[in-house]
Symmetry: C3
Subunit: 139 residues, 3 copies
């Protein structure tokens, strides 16, 4: 059985990292899952992505952004920006690399995350957005 | 219920990006999915991978390739190439980072993609290949 | 139906790459899967991740590590390390980029891997760890 819900978030972009673990946990709880299940998460859109990390200020406010600045610099030269007179070429590149989907086991009703492992959306865009994450619970 | 099909593609490599959204959409349609489902995609092989992006010429023909050239340069020094007298060490590294699997929700028979979000195969290899992507629809 | 098992590994970190294909294959075999199925793998923890690659010495002992040294250098400056008096900021960054989850099709009882494509855990941490990979088989 597949139960589909959506998590809606307001974001500000610029490599903002949002911890969505509690929302995902609530979705599992509201679906009355007490046994094993699989949660499929999918970020709708091409300038953000999903992963897990230890949600602490050093990583969230500095280190992850520094890595992505190294991979695809915000001030780099992008054909995407020339074509569309836009400024978010780096956001598209980073999002493609990170990926939009994540699959997380549920064991006896609990997300199988590590103690220091949170589920996050990273928004790479250059302006505030309303973001949608599709959350499917498979039992 | 799991329905398994395969998408077969001829590629030329060198960071070629192929939009497979229409093939995946056709697979969902042919499976007569009208409710919710989950599509699992898997690239068979170690020099290509799957992600989503806005399929437009600037990103597809330049920016994504430039990012991967930065991450694992085509002209870099790779032990893989010395060992196997090969030239695609960068292709293996990039493919491992991008990853072979992608999971996409289907809601009321439609793939839950953003307007500017296409499903793509990126082929990093240095020669033409016949590529197989396994497509499983879970209902 | 979902069958959940765990793969437990002792690792030494420092970008160690462990081939877990045979463990995953054994899990599929022990679940008596003869038809189609989906295997969901999830690495518990924030300093390691999962992907596929050709498991050969050049890539495993040198090239993949060199790529990650380029992406997030081990000797870089990380706020995570200053905050927690730790030395594994690069490990957290790399793991977030690689991602914790992987989804692999099973066709007629066999993992749909390429001939030169193995399932691996990459442990980026800076000390030996006991690692847990949750393995769910969906039929």
């Amino acid at each position: 059985m597949i139960q589909t819900t959506q998590i809606i978030l307001e974001t500000r972009g610029d490599c903002q990292i949002v911890d969505i673990s509690s929302q995902v946990r609530r979705t599992v709880s509201q679906a009355s899952i007490t046994g094993d299940a699989i949660v499929v998460l999918f970020h709708v859109g091409s300038t953000g992505g999903l992963t897990t990390l230890e949600y602490e200020p050093g990583l969230v406010n500095h280190d992850i952004k520094a890595m992505f600045d190294n991979i695809a610099p915000a001030d780099g030269s992008y054909e995407h920006e020339k074509t569309w007179d836009d400024d978010n070429g780096h956001a598209h590149c980073r999002a493609s690399l990170l990926g939009p989907s994540l699959t997380i086991p549920v064991i006896k009703g609990q997300l199988a995350l590590g103690t220091w492992q949170q589920i996050v959306l990273i928004d790479f865009d250059t302006r505030p957005r309303t973001r949608t994450i599709v959350c499917q619970i498979l039992t």
